[in-house]
Symmetry: C2
Subunit: 230 residues, 2 copies
DNA sequence: AAATCATCTTGACGGCGTCAAGATAGCGAG
DNA sequence: CTCGCTATCTTGACGCCGTCAAGATGATTT
């Protein structure tokens, strides 16, 4: 497949599905070496193609990363939706399930997760990316509203009107910030001094309590419920 | 100062304070071009020195970034402590003040903030870095405990014993995750589709509510306050 | 005054992303 | 059926990157 003989080159001069092949190679490289070790040339190498070939399909490195980011966002949506369905079934907290799914997706392939959040130049105006991003955000909004006993919002097609989701925005932002922050802190090793070399044990020990705390914080009806016996 | 004549070169063959100069240059580059446009060679250029000169002081790029990260963590600590003092004075929520300070620090110099959290290879085992990191974490722990009406923890010197801070760990993690996640989402532009081109207005509009929500969530006395009428 | 040592320069290496120019092949129009 | 068109891919080059080995320089110690 990656033959170097003139014969094979002649036969495969036109790759035929380079775009797909590049994306597959990119996912591979990200999983293997992370975002730091990610290289356009290496992806081209694995796709069995010259370094300049991808330009025609993706424009440049940013284009490739944007494509990866779009897929990554879709995976995030898929994982969250699946988690919600499972929690629904099991009768457990849907918000906690979403949180778990988000963090697990990030930890499963940190390099890819970092691409999604543009640690290395993606095109946020790209229509496909925007669509994927909006889709994921809508899931979060829907679940936060569900957690507060509110009916789902009518999301015509494009982005939800800012006014419509304004009332619950702080809750949504808190939810997203918390799961996203926890994910990045874990990925970047900022919590390693607490995990003492065993990240999984650390998660088993504290993640559920953290997610539960978040879910219950978001379910609280109104203002400060403190002042209980302070 | 950055003369190129042999004369000046001879006079300045030994820079004398290259370490400082490199750090200053690095901060400059980070502020100007962000972490993506950050380059060891560019820093050396601004310090008026050859590309290989910094090696003697920092080892390699990672060494320089680690030094920057250490300073960045210290700034985070300073900002948080100042915010707490101010809130104390004003009688407002100390936790909300810390949150605001954290986010503001991140937004003030995103490139530097990204260095702190190792988006580009730092040495987390570096003693100075570890100390700075522990210091900042201790502030967070102290304030979360204060918010819950608990006395400050005895932190001998090194890291706090894991057992001692175990009870409040979920709250601390939630606090850190939320402020960190909000910061990175903002920095990475993931919230731009909500901010509609005016990030400051967006913050003015929603940040206070978000921080207030977080602070009150952390002040809740005990377990799930949900199940109220679910 | 001589020797030692930290500091800095020079020149080179391989790897990167990108670009211009040319080779190749599939495809539609005649 | 063939001719040309166009999308696709290669080649070779450019400037930039981080790093290294070897040598120059100057401060410090002996």
């Amino acid at each position: 497949m990656a033959e170097a003989t003139p014969r094979a080159m002649r036969e495969h001069y036109h790759h035929g599905a380079l775009r797909q092949a590049m994306i597959a190679a990119a996912e591979e490289v990200l999983a293997e070496r992370g975002l730091g070790g990610f290289t356009l040339r290496e992806c081209a190498r694995r796709a069995g193609v010259s370094p300049a070939a991808p330009a025609h399909h993706f424009g440049n490195l940013t284009g490739l990363l944007t494509a990866i980011a779009t897929l990554g966002f879709d995976d995030l949506s898929t994982a969250m939706d699946a988690a919600v369905a499972a929690a629904q079934e099991a009768g457990t907290s849907r918000l906690a399930a979403i949180a778990r799914a988000y963090v697990e997706t990030a930890l499963a392939n940190p390099g890819r997760f970092r691409v999604v959040f543009g640690q290395r130049g993606i095109d946020r105006e790209d229509p496909a990316f925007r669509a994927a991003s909006t889709r994921a955000f809508a899931i979060l909004v829907r679940e936060v509203r569900f957690g507060r006993g509110l009916p789902p919002l009518q999301l015509p097609d494009g982005k939800p009107s800012a006014d419509a989701l304004d009332p619950e925005l702080p809750e949504v932002l808190l939810a997203w910030s918390a799961v996203h922050g926890f994910s990045t802190l874990l990925i970047d090793g900022a919590l390693d001094f607490l995990a003492e070399g065993n990240r999984q044990a650390f998660l088993d020990r504290h993640a559920a309590r953290l997610f539960g705390l978040l879910a219950s914080a978001l379910s609280v009806e109104d203002g400060p419920v403190s002042a209980r016996e302070a």
